[in-house]
């Protein structure tokens, strides 16, 4: 899997990554031990981690393969519902399905959390496989709309009466087991993130990038375009499904309105801010967006300067500021915080001599 060129880099980078992991574990253990005081911080971190997985998965298909997919919310819903249905404690189920009852087959079907989360990913991947066959033949923006449509269809199906005994229809699911500690969340998410990094850096990952750079050239060197696209789409959806399952655990209750288009936009925002085609960018972006949204909360509260009420500050202002920030990044920092580059020690060393811009061209010729 790991080719030589990659191995050279790995030595120093590995140190950096190990360092980051150790430091994160230490910080999280400390926070967990003082959960009561730090619950807000823990919640922000958990949410950021979950979104980091979702963003990286989106980046894999959008940034690395060049397929603009807007179906994230749909795949997250699939993962979240699968995880939820399989992990809600059996004794609480009659309580959750209090309106319509539960399908007898599901009544006692229960899995340990990690298996349920992975199954959530598998279900999402399966659906991605099915719809990928027709829609991946579409060109960039048509693909975006088709996946968006898929996500909306999923949402309508989940909420419909037909599915009452499985998804609990409009009432949603609750009592989903939560993360016992932020370390648990960190373990799940970091396994996903490392797995995705390995895939992106493998030879398959290079095939993805080849398709992104030039589809026709990629075909001429013997890459099976369709198969590779399908693979990227399925793998990305697998991890999106997992992130959905983790989101369900983070929120501990979900319903169909959780998975609207805005959720996809939130993930997209992270990918864009972090830099399309940058792994570390997506991770940093997830923290930046999630924490940013919380930090800007003071914009929503009335502000009084020297006894004068500043009329600008009222609920809703935060989101305006946030959308303006997004526009600023899109327009003036077009490549996001990190561009197509990665945050690494190697990068630091090479930074001085390598000025060549490897910014990506996504979307093909037009």
């Amino acid at each position: 899997m790991l080719k030589n060129s990659f191995k050279e880099k790995i030595n120093i980078n590995l140190l950096l990554y190990l360092g980051i992991i150790v430091v994160s574990v230490l910080i999280l253990t400390f926070l967990d031990m003082n959960k009561r005081e730090y619950i807000y911080a823990i919640s922000i971190i958990e949410r950021s981690l979950v979104f980091a997985v979702a963003a990286l998965a989106m980046n894999m298909v959008t940034g690395f393969t060049g397929l603009f997919s807007l179906g994230q919310a749909g795949f997250m819903a699939l993962g979240a519902y699968t995880t939820a249905i399989l992990t809600i404690p059996v004794e609480l189920r009659p309580n959750v399905y209090y309106m319509e009852g539960i399908l007898p087959a599901l009544e006692n079907l229960s899995f340990p959390i990690p298996i349920a989360v992975i199954l959530g990913g598998v279900v999402a991947a399966f659906f991605a496989f099915l719809i990928g066959i027709p829609i991946l033949r579409l060109k960039s923006d048509y693909l975006a709309i088709a996946t968006l449509g898929f996500s909306e269809i999923m949402r309508a199906v989940i909420a419909s009466h037909m599915m009452d005994k499985i998804t609990n229809g409009a009432y949603g699911l609750n009592n989903i087991p939560e993360f016992s500690s932020s370390i648990e969340c960190f373990i799940y998410t970091s396994i996903c993130i490392i797995a995705m990094i390995l895939i992106i850096n493998s030879s398959t990952g290079r095939d993805f990038k080849a398709i992104r750079e030039d589809e026709i050239a990629a075909r001429s060197v013997g890459i099976n375009i369709f198969k590779t696209k399908e693979l990227s789409f399925v793998v990305s959806s697998f991890f999106t499904g997992i992130s959905g399952g983790l989101l369900a655990m983070y929120m501990s209750s979900i319903n169909s309105s959780t998975f609207q288009i805005t959720l996809t936009y939130d993930v997209l925002l992270i990918v864009v801010l972090g830099g399309i085609g940058s792994i570390t960018g997506s991770i940093v972006g997830a923290f930046f967006v999630t924490a940013g949204k919380e930090l800007l909360r003071f914009f929503d509260e009335p502000l009084t300067v020297a006894g004068v009420n500043v009329p600008l500050f009222k609920p809703g202002f935060r989101m305006v500021i946030f959308s303006i920030l997004l526009m600023v990044v899109v327009l003036f920092f077009r490549k996001g915080l990190l561009g197509g580059k990665e945050l690494s020690l190697n990068g630091f060393k090479k930074y001085s001599r390598k000025k060549e811009d490897k910014g990506i061209q996504v979307g093909g010729a037009s």
């Binding site: 027709p134 088709a146 526009m327 899109v330």
Partner: protein, 291 residues
């Protein structure tokens, strides 16, 4: 019978509004190869412009102000959010469009609150006409007529005038057109102006029958009209017209047979089927891959 008539009128009137919005998508896509995600929100803003101008001015003036303000908004969005990205990859522009949509929704929530605002009744338009048992407002008849007149005018504009020729040239080949001395920015701004103007007209017709506006008013019609534009073949004006009516009428039928739960899902299923069977839509031109 009267129920059937009622459905027919509903379908046609919704379809007409959809067609007007869909044309906006089609024009912009034709020229910039950009799905203008903010188009639905421009439509929503037009609703608010009307509410505020109507509060101050008599209705003919208010209508003119709405049309002008919406057009200006369209041009402004193009200038600020899209024109700096002319050379950027297509995805960046699309993301910028999503960003504008996000901004307009948040801004209107902030400025006008999330509560619906009553849409003014324009004298005459809301007059009810009884056809047997079916009750139809005047605007229901006016909508398809206005739509068709506008499409005819638009086709004339595109095919017969100099600026129309420039539009076609830019949509065929961007760089070649600018080499031929066509002012790229002016042409693009003009396209946005026309698209937004149509959205404003559509908004007046649409909201008159629906009577209130709120920040997410544009979201659903926006998506549906995009589907309509794709259905008819994006880039083609008659296609958008046909697509608008098709989506409007089929949606009405779906609801009429009692499947209202899936009406949106159905719209998207049409989209996906269409994209698979004939990706260029009914009247779309085949795009050629350049190596």
């Amino acid at each position: 019978m009267s129920t059937f008539l009622q459905y027919v009128f509903t379908g046609i009137s919704v379809g007409g509004c959809y067609a007007l919005i869909a044309i906006g998508y089609t024009l912009v896509y034709g020229i910039l190869r950009l799905i203008n995600f903010a188009h639905g929100d421009i439509f929503m803003m037009a609703g608010y412009f009307m509410i505020f101008s109507f509060a101050v001015f008599p209705f003919p003036v208010a209508i003119i102000i709405t049309l002008v303000a919406t057009t200006a908004l369209g041009i402004l969005i193009e200038k600020f959010a899209y024109s700096p990205l002319r050379q950027a990859p297509r995805m960046s522009v699309m993301i910028s469009a999503i960003g504008v949509s996000y901004l307009l929704q948040n801004l209107s929530t902030y400025l006008f609150s999330g509560l619906p605002q009553p849409y003014p009744a324009i004298p005459g338009l809301k007059q009810r006409v009884m056809l047997g048992d079916a009750s139809v407002s005047l605007v229901t008849f006016i909508t398809p007529i206005v739509t068709i007149i506008i499409v005819l005018l638009l086709l004339r504009l595109v095919n017969k005038t100099k600026i129309g020729m420039a539009m076609r040239a830019v949509s065929k080949d961007y760089e070649a057109a600018s080499l031929m001395g066509i002012k790229l920015n002016t042409t693009i701004s003009f396209t946005f102006a026309v698209g937004s103007l149509l959205a404003a007209v559509g908004s007046i017709l649409y909201f008159t029958d629906r009577s209130s506006v709120y920040p997410f008013s544009g979201a659903l019609p926006g998506l549906k009209c995009f589907v309509a534009a794709v259905f008819g073949g994006i880039g083609s004006i008659p296609g958008a017209l046909l697509g608008g009516f098709f989506i409007g009428i089929s949606e009405t039928i779906i609801k009429a047979v009692g499947l209202s739960t899936f009406s949106d899902a159905f719209t998207f299923i049409i989209l996906i089927i269409m994209l698979i069977v004939k990706p260029t839509g009914l009247f779309g031109e085949k795009s050629v891959d350049k190596v």
